[in-house]
Symmetry: C2
Subunit: 168 residues, 2 copies
Amino acid sequence: MSGSLVDPGIDSPEPEQLAAYFALTEAVSLLQHQVELQLRADSGLSSVQFGILTRLAGGDGQLTMTQLADGVVYSRSGLTYQAGLLEKAGLITRGPSVDDERSTVVTITGKGVALVNRLLPGHIEVVRRLLFEPLSDRDLRRLGDIMSRVRDHMRRQPPRSATPRKRR
Amino acid sequence: MSGSLVDPGIDSPEPEQLAAYFALTEAVSLLQHQVELQLRADSGLSSVQFGILTRLAGGDGQLTMTQLADGVVYSRSGLTYQAGLLEKAGLITRGPSVDDERSTVVTITGKGVALVNRLLPGHIEVVRRLLFEPLSDRDLRRLGDIMSRVRDHMRRQPPRSATPRKRR
DNA sequence: TATTGTTATACTCTATAACTATA
DNA sequence: TATAGTTATAGAGTATAACAATA
């Protein structure tokens, strides 16, 4: 008895490949949940908000709304909502772009940078405990190599903004 | 110039390790989003609902609410909500457990199994295109090995249900 | 015309706490 | 007392479509 009611079909991938996919998604889901709990406990920030701030702080501190939406969140209106919260909290500011007056440039404030730096150790500690701990240095190098290629591959796919409009 | 405003601190992990973490989370986030789009387009099901159904279908078709909550969703009331939707759609049924009359046993229906089998090819196709395609067989074996260990490690952590009550 | 961003709106989802019933 | 599950409720988040302004 196989103990399974599903039949992926003749042309399906090896079970081993699917197992890799399931392990990946389950592990990341568990990790994300723990990260979410830690962030809320330490700051009240959601992981989406933390992601916006770290994306800004990881660069030179400035990105347009569209650049942010491409990396963090999946609709412009959703990002407008989150940016509104972060601006109200004094963690970012928004201003017009000089290059293109349609664009809004989002800038992380000193308070925002300070918050990211305060949160990072606890954040990293969670990641270390859950993700790094059971892995050797070599595992981690391989994981980074593999997932970097996957990420780059996905980034090359047509971005969401290219989603065709609803037909009629 | 480093181009970054953040300072992880003296005792921080190697940048290479953090890069592995960021690549992992970004890639999985992109993958989850595409999977979500495909599921909605093909069925109107969310990935949480699909996860509940596949978890049931991957076993013998029955699990208790608590077993489901541990694997798929992060609060019992949230699962009750989702189970209500799935039951209304005729994809699962709920009934009392004979072993423990406090428990509810969730059973996937024939219609539920049929839906999972209908959705699986398209689902796998997305995963193949985004995740498997840029990877060699060896990459995939390594990824599966690594993430299985991480997942097992995380499962060993005290489950969310052990979260201490709010103080006071 | 196409693109950037915001707004209004409706909806989905989630968590908290209170509650019922069984162990 | 502790555990399984449901319910009521409230809040957060998201997407869609319509809109204004600029390219």
